[in-house]
């Protein structure tokens, strides 16, 4: 019965102060939601078990060489498999992108080349047909594939005769032997599974092929022991080949991680801890702020508490009575947060899956789950303890006599005052830093979003190819392949023009008529290897001619230079026929200028000053490279134009894998811009919430202090203090904390800005940092002063006679 009375009383108090209730609830919901969302998102991303039978024991096996990520070669795998004793179901697979062709159209789908044990390892049987068996892997076997439920439904219209049908996979007619159950996309994003060939597995140690591996430890719980044996065996195998095949010197070791954890390269714990620490800090700030708001309320009712105590209420009863207000509001906040986070996770899931329809691993499903609910309860209980129990405990443990006795009145205790000041300083510091960094990040995002890179990707498709060294060892072979590909592409009636680009990095430029004190002082240029017309991507000719197939090995080495370079070194002159020297592949090459083209900002120097480096385009026929980004411009719209590339590619080399699938050239940039916009919006939102939190926090602390000092205000006013005197007194106290908090934040920001400025090669002018700092200082000062002024003003408005009677 007493509890019901207390609850009713607490509800009445909350309804009596709707503004206070709304403000407290808002801070709580904000703090709890941020923490809960961060936890749930990261937990689902990193720690949830693989949603497969015995998924918790399935391990992804990768390698490290000298601390860098690596994989197993077929040679290492074969030897390791025969010698090791700790793993069962040890196998390999290779993630690939496959092209499904349907006449003139086609589609890219992610898939895997897998061995015969792969499906057994995943403890999943096919919905229809069978999975891959040893015979499928033999050289010369019929091309077969297992398809996903999604491919069956979408590409084959859920045909009942699917097992009698074929698909054209990478231009090869392939029999469908099985369909996997709905949702199965193991090992990550696969929608189609083809057998690994025995040829792929029986390779020499220097073949340069690498595979992902999987396995289960035989004796559960002996992870360390297993790793010890595997590492020892692997390193022995590796060291034998280091000398034989001139491999990278160092130690090769293995990583045994769960599949979800392997997605972050084993760095998940750090990310999880770091991001959760930030989220918990925000929750802690919210708790402190709400605690202060509730403390201010309990102080306002200190006399009431003292009377209750005098009338015989026990400490326990007093604490319970004082806590109900906090318990109700925190529980309500907890429930609202769970609903809000549930909705946020649901929409995050939809957005992320729509951004990367094929790129998300199948276990990345975000939504409200048991772990999030449990964590919500833990967070809510922690919040009740911090923001309700502690203020109630403090209030209940007051000196009843001194409160009931009319004696000296005045400020908070010195200890409480120091704590309040420390909290305000800390909040100002944190918010200032968040705002400064947030503003910087917003500037960077804005710059990126609005950047004119000097190219034109309208109606341009792109793909990236990295020719395997083993298959294309000679420069002539590489040039011939790309030349074939470009010609095939260009022969299509819808293709306007084609070009390849290979950014070879920055190189030192040497001019005959210039002296350089050292190599370090030499200017740098961006070197881009190219074949075809650069006008395909909007780098247009201003003077001279484009690079052609005649600019080949043996002929005079040539270059097209950017307009900025021409103006910089030969102002007012014609540059055609002039030459300069540039270091390419370790050689100082003399290049003759054949053309001037429009400027272009290389995306890799995005953090550098715009146009800090000029560009030179060298002939891809003279300087060959395995890697090339291929661009082709289309007449009209881009629909169904991927197939043009694949058909050309299959004619040039049927068995080649793309480094990056064909897509509109604008797509990556749009995605990047979307991501930057999202980052910018998130930063702004976080900064805004932090500012709101600080506003409420400082308001709460000041309200707390003012509530305790209301009687003192009355005394001061009785002896002649004006409203201005009183307001100034509080503002002056707040000013000290503001100066300290801002000062610390500005020092840290100055260091960060200095480092960023150096790193980004003066991306922004120095005055911008000063303007930014000034804006944050002025803005935050106004907000803090407002947060102090509001409760002070309210207390000052009280007539001195009322303030003197204030309990």
């Amino acid at each position: 019965m007493p509890i019901i009375i207390d609850i009713k009383y607490a509800i009445r108090l909350l309804f009596k102060s709707p503004k206070f209730t709304a403000m407290t609830l808002m801070v709580l919901v904000g703090g709890l939601s941020i923490s809960l969302f961060t936890f749930s998102f990261l937990y689902s991303t990193l720690y949830k078990d693989l949603p497969l039978p015995e998924g918790d024991t399935a391990l992804s096996i990768s390698a490290m060489i000298n601390g860098d990520y690596s994989l197993l070669t077929p040679y290492e795998f074969a030897h390791l498999k025969s010698e090791q004793t700790v793993l069962e179901e040890f196998g390999v697979y290779d993630d690939k992108n496959y092209r499904l062709s349907f006449g003139d159209a086609g589609k890219n789908i992610p898939g895997s080349n897998v061995d015969e044990g792969f499906f057994r390892f995943s403890r999943t049987s096919p919905l229809l047909g069978r999975t891959i068996v040893k015979e499928d892997m033999q050289v010369g076997a019929t091309a077969v594939a297992v398809i996903s439920f999604q491919v069956w439904q979408n590409e084959l219209a859920a045909s009942e005769e699917v097992l009698n049908e074929t698909l054209v996979v990478n231009d090869v007619v392939t029999e469908i032997i099985g369909v996997m159950p709905e949702g199965y996309r193991f090992p990550g994003t696969a929608k189609i599974w083809l057998p690994l060939s025995d040829d792929d597995l029986n390779l020499a140690a220097d073949a340069g092929n690498y595979f992902y591996s999987y396995g289960r430890i035989k004796a559960a719980g002996e992870h360390a022991q297993a790793l010890l044996e595997l590492n020892s065996l692997l390193d022995n195998i590796y060291q034998q080949n280091v000398a034989l095949y001139d491999l990278e010197k160092g130690k090769k070791s293995l990583q045994l991680l769960t599949f979800p954890f392997a997605q972050t390269g084993g760095e998940g714990t750090i990310i999880f801890a770091f991001l959760n620490a930030i989220a918990w800090m925000i929750l802690l700030l919210a708790c402190i702020n709400v605690g202060n708001l509730l403390l201010a309320r309990s102080i306002e009712r200190q006399k009431e508490t003292a009377i209750r105590a005098a009338l015989g209420a026990t400490n326990k009863r007093l604490i319970s009575q004082l806590m109900w207000e906090g318990i109700i509001i925190t529980t309500l906040g907890g429930v609202l947060s769970v609903l809000l986070v549930g909705a946020a996770l649901h929409y995050t899931n939809i957005i992320l899956h729509s951004w990367m329809p094929d790129g998300m691993v199948f276990w990345w499903q975000w939504g409200m789950d048991r772990e999030t609910i449990v964590m919500a309860i833990i967070f809510t209980l922690a919040t009740i303890f911090l923001s309700s129990f502690l203020p109630a405990w403090r209030s209940a443990n007051q000196d009843i006599n001194s409160t009931l006795r009319d004696g000296t009145r005045g400020a908070q205790s010195k200890k409480a005052g120091r704590l309040s000041r420390f909290l305000v300083t800390t909040q100002v510091f944190l918010v200032a830093i968040l705002m400064l960094i947030g503003a910087m990040s917003a500037f960077i995002s804005l710059k990126f979003i609005n950047l004119d890179l000097g190219d034109d990707y309208t109606n341009v498709m792109t793909a990236r190819i990295n020719l395997p060294v083993g298959k294309y060892p000679e420069p002539e072979q590489k040039i011939a392949f790309y030349q074939n590909l470009l010609e095939e592409l260009k022969s299509h009636p819808k293709v306007v023009d084609v070009v390849t680009n290979n950014w070879m990095g920055e190189s030192e430029l040497t001019m005959d008529n210039m002296d350089y004190p050292s190599d370090y002082e030499k200017p740098k240029v961006d070197v881009i290897g190219t074949m075809g017309k650069t006008s395909t991507i909007g780098v247009n000719l201003l003077e001279g001619r484009y690079i052609s197939h005649l600019d080949k090995e043996g002929s005079r080495k040539i270059a097209m230079i950017s307009q900025s370079m021409a103006k910089r070194y030969w102002p007012g002159e014609s540059v055609l026929g002039k030459y300069f020297k540039v270091e390419i592949n370790g050689e100082n090459e003399k290049l003759f200028i054949i053309a001037v083209v429009t400027d272009r900002l290389n995306p890799r120097t995005i953090l550098g000053k715009i146009d800090s480096a000029d560009e030179i385009y060298i002939s891809g026929f003279q300087f060959s490279n395995n890697f090339q980004a291929v661009y082709y411009r289309i007449h009209g719209d881009l629909a169904q134009t991927e197939e043009i590339f694949y058909q050309a590619l299959f004619k040039a080399d049927r068995n080649l894998d793309l480094f990056y699938p064909v897509q509109p050239a604008m797509k990556n940039r749009s995605l990047m811009r979307d991501v930057m916009s999202l980052v910018s919006n998130l930063t702004f939102s976080t900064g805004f919430f932090a500012l709101l939190l600080a506003l409420v926090g400082i308001y709460g602390l000041t309200a707390n202090s003012v509530a305790q000092r209301t009687h003192e205000i009355g005394i001061r006013r009785a002896v002649g203090a004006t409203d201005k005197n009183i307001v100034q007194m509080f503002l002056k106290q707040g000013r000290a904390q503001l100066i300290r908090g801002l000062g610390l934040a500005l020092v840290l920001f100055a260091l960060l800005a200095f480092a960023f400025n150096k790193f980004s090669e003066s991306m922004f002018p120095v005055y911008l940092y000063a303007v930014l700092a000034l804006t944050v200082v002025v803005g935050l000062s106004c907000v803090v002063m407002l947060a102090i002024y509001a409760p002070t003003r309210r207390a000052v408005k009280m007539e001195p006679s009322s303030a003197l009677r204030y309990e």
């Binding site: 009319d406 004696g407 009785a718 002896v719 203090a721 004006t722 201005k724 001195p800 006679s801 003197l804």
Partner: protein, 240 residues
């Protein structure tokens, strides 16, 4: 005698939610310079409210209030604050000292709200009034380190430090034992003899008799205004 303050038909009502409470109504009063007035009456009759109005701690709902010939009833909050810091001295039943300020700082407070007073002058004035109430030796103590009687003497010193035109005392002995109460009353007697105008709210008939003039209130109205034949007592402060 010269009229120091004049109240013409002063009323004060309090409004809490929809309830209107008439605290005082239709008070007419003249207090002359140098008078020692006691104000008594039953609890809740409006004594403290009247004292708050006299001390400009509150403003009347209706009526006129002239202090030193100036109509103060329509003054702004800041104007009233200025008058309080320069012309009025308060002594409260509950002392109302600020716990985080020392005795010296508490006494100094009214002067800090006046402008243009030299720091040295402030120090001299504070020391002088503290000496007067025999509390100079405790100037660096905090209120919590003093007895009730000592705290009230500090409060008296604070009321004196700005050389007020009138001292308003709201049951100054209400929280004190008889010994300390006598000391405070003796102090007020002494101040009166030195020319101070005092208005004291009291329940105690013996204290009221020390005043020149006794006012009695009932239900928000002045029902009696009598001249007193003062019984002069030897002035001595009882140290506690």
């Amino acid at each position: 005698m010269t009229a120091l303050l004049t109240l013409n038909n002063i009323s004060k009502k309090f409004f809490t939610e929809e309830i209107e409470t008439k605290a005082i109504s239709g008070i007419n009063l003249i207090i002359n310079k140098g008078e020692y007035i006691s104000l008594s009456g039953q609890s809740g009759c409006g004594k403290s409210t009247l004292l708050s109005l006299l001390g400009l701690l509150d403003s009347p709902t209706s009526g006129e209030y002239h202090l030193n010939g100036t109509d103060v009833s329509l003054m702004t909050r800041d104007q009233r604050a200025k008058i309080r810091s320069e012309q009025i001295g308060f002594i409260f039943q509950s002392f109302n000292l600020i716990s985080d300020l020392t005795v010296f700082e508490n006494v100094m407070l009214p002067l800090t709200y006046q402008t243009g007073i030299d720091k040295k002058v402030i120090e001299e004035k504070v020391s002088s009034v503290l000496e007067k109430v025999e509390m100079l030796h405790r100037k660096n103590h905090f209120p919590s380190q003093l007895s009730g009687g000592q705290q009230q003497r500090v409060a008296v010193a604070r009321a004196l430090v700005n050389d007020p035109t009138i001292i308003l005392a709201d049951e100054p002995t209400g929280n004190l034992d008889s010994k300390n109460a006598e000391a405070v009353l003796a102090l007020l007697d002494k101040l009166h003899q030195e020319g101070a105008t005092i208005c004291m709210v009291t329940h105690d008939p013996a204290s009221a008799k020390r005043a020149d003039r006794c006012l009695e209130m009932f239900d928000g109205r002045l029902i009696s205004d009598q001249q007193n034949i003062r019984v002069n007592k030897p002035i001595e402060l009882v140290a506690s």
